[in-house]
């Protein structure tokens, strides 16, 4: 009787502790990839003819227009 109780309790303990393993619960975050339509570069149009340098120069000049210390001579 005593033996069977011991066996049953040992089995119960083994079964109960079976799910006690420590496993990482947090998934590793993975950055998604853009799924939308592809966009063209702002210089990829007839006005700039895919000339990046020309577009950059235009934008840079425009940016300098915000500096009133150099604007208007």
């Amino acid at each position: 009787m005593k033996k069977s109780v011991l066996i049953v309790s040992a089995m119960l303990a083994a079964f109960g502790l079976a799910a006690c393993g420590e496993r990482p619960q947090v998934n590793v975050y993975q950055q998604g990839k853009y799924q939308g339509k592809a966009d063209t570069a702002p210089y990829d149009n007839p006005a700039f003819g895919k000339d990046k340098a020309k577009w950059e120069a235009a934008v840079r000049a425009r940016g300098q227009g915000q500096d009133e210390y150099t604007r208007g001579g």
Binding site: D39, A41, N45, E56, V59, R62, Q66
Partner: protein, 209 residues
Amino acid sequence: MARMKFLCDAERCIECNGCVTACKNEHDVPWGVNRRRVVTLNDGVPGERSVSVACMHCSDAPCIAVCPVDCIYHTEEGVVLHDKDLCIGCGYCFYACPFGAPQFPQAGAFGMRGKMDKCTFCAGGPEVDGSEEEFRKYGRNRLAEGKLPICAEMCATKALLGGDSDVISDIFRKRATMRGGGAQLIGWATAYGRQERAQERKGAGEGGK
């Protein structure tokens, strides 16, 4: 070219809301959506400060990280744009954005949200540059015309600067140097009020809003 950025000089902003109006007009922004707004600290109190706020086109944008349909992207120039055809209007980007930039037009009854709308740095979206469809969905594409955002370009006091971060930071640095002020030329105190101003406000016995 470095990244495209906005920089608002709180010493100069006079809360005229010209940037807000220009943006709404330029892009035909619908009722209830404000891509840009002016935030005033200590409104009505001497020494109040105003800052014009819109999408800051973050280099590590949290909206891109949280978007469940991955419809937000960075352009080569560092502008954060999105594809409205893919957007499901869930609002995650609104919760993630520290500036409250993403806006949602009321698309129907019972507060139903439409697709996200936000400042595009006047760079349109992933439609053909300058097309009718691009204008309808995202507004005018000034960047493709070699121009800068309308809000910055029309700012009367030039408080709001927009463009290549190298260029606008140089402009701001020069401006701060011309103002004088010693070691605290550029920084928190210059932008948001020096210690003596805080003391003045305290002396006046008012509470900030």
